[in-house]
Symmetry: C2
């Protein structure tokens, strides 16, 4: 199970893989409503035997949906007020401005709420924001300075 494969680079410091963002869980009020929204945007549910949560491959990172109250309990935090901004924004980068527009329109049609219309940005791109049915903000962006690899993942410049 990989328990004993660490390299010891210096002294007693044990090497550790860098932190990796494997999965993002969105706390939701109504799992069915949230699943319907994300399926309308093209995501395909996996791990189908998990009925109390939903899992999607969102491009090499897993997007999961889970009841907000249960998520807070799992994390050991106070659940707080649903819909309030929690200081985290998700982003979906697109290959063109027209794809940004199309994605925002689809998200609103699927039950999202427009937060900020798409417009040119100070960083030379184009983006707008839409909230999912639970208020989680998504920026839909085109950034010509952040190219994609073959899988559509951002390759950051130095």
């Amino acid at each position: 199970m990989g328990e004993a494969s660490a390299v010891e680079p210096r002294g007693t410091t044990r090497a550790m893989a860098p932190l990796q963002l494997s999965l993002v869980t969105l706390g939701v009020a109504d799992l069915r409503r949230a699943v319907t929204f994300y399926e309308a945007l093209g995501l395909v549910r996996r791990v189908k035997e998990a009925t109390g949560a939903a899992f999607f491959d969102a491009g090499g990172v897993v997007l999961s949906l889970y009841p907000r109250v249960e998520l807070a309990a799992d994390a050991g935090v106070v659940a707080g007020r649903p819909g309030a901004f929690g200081g985290i924004a998700l982003a979906c980068n697109r290959a063109s401005r027209s794809e940004v527009d199309t994605t925002l329109i689809r998200a609103v049609a699927a039950g999202g709420r427009a937060l900020r219309p798409a417009q040119p940005t100070f960083w030379g791109g184009y983006s707008g924001y839409v909230a999912d049915p639970d208020g989680h903000p998504w920026e839909i962006a085109h950034n010509p300075g952040f190219p994609f690899d073959a899988a559509g993942r951002i390759v950051l410049p130095d």
Copy 2:
């Protein structure tokens, strides 16, 4: 720039790539403090000319740090109370329970706050939670049911 490559699969429906999670932005109170925390966990800053934000490759998805008030303004939402749970949890999946323990210890040593100790979970894995310096919750997990690909990304079973 790829503006005109859409396939028209049926009628007037224009094909659209599925929603993809390209980037996650964490709103922070002190950019330097947040950068120091994530660098201590092995992430390497990219796009270094961006001085008002920080960008890391977190495993094929970009993790970015940006002042919370500016992020809220960009998204068109009220900034709200820093530190309150916003209904989103990030997760880093590890190859073993011992790596979960090590990552949690490192995160606390780097200035994170322990939220829930690591323990066996009802889904057959092992996980604990730690908050980053701005209170954003990270679950550090080992899930034997979610294997990795060669790049360390989760491959979801059906």
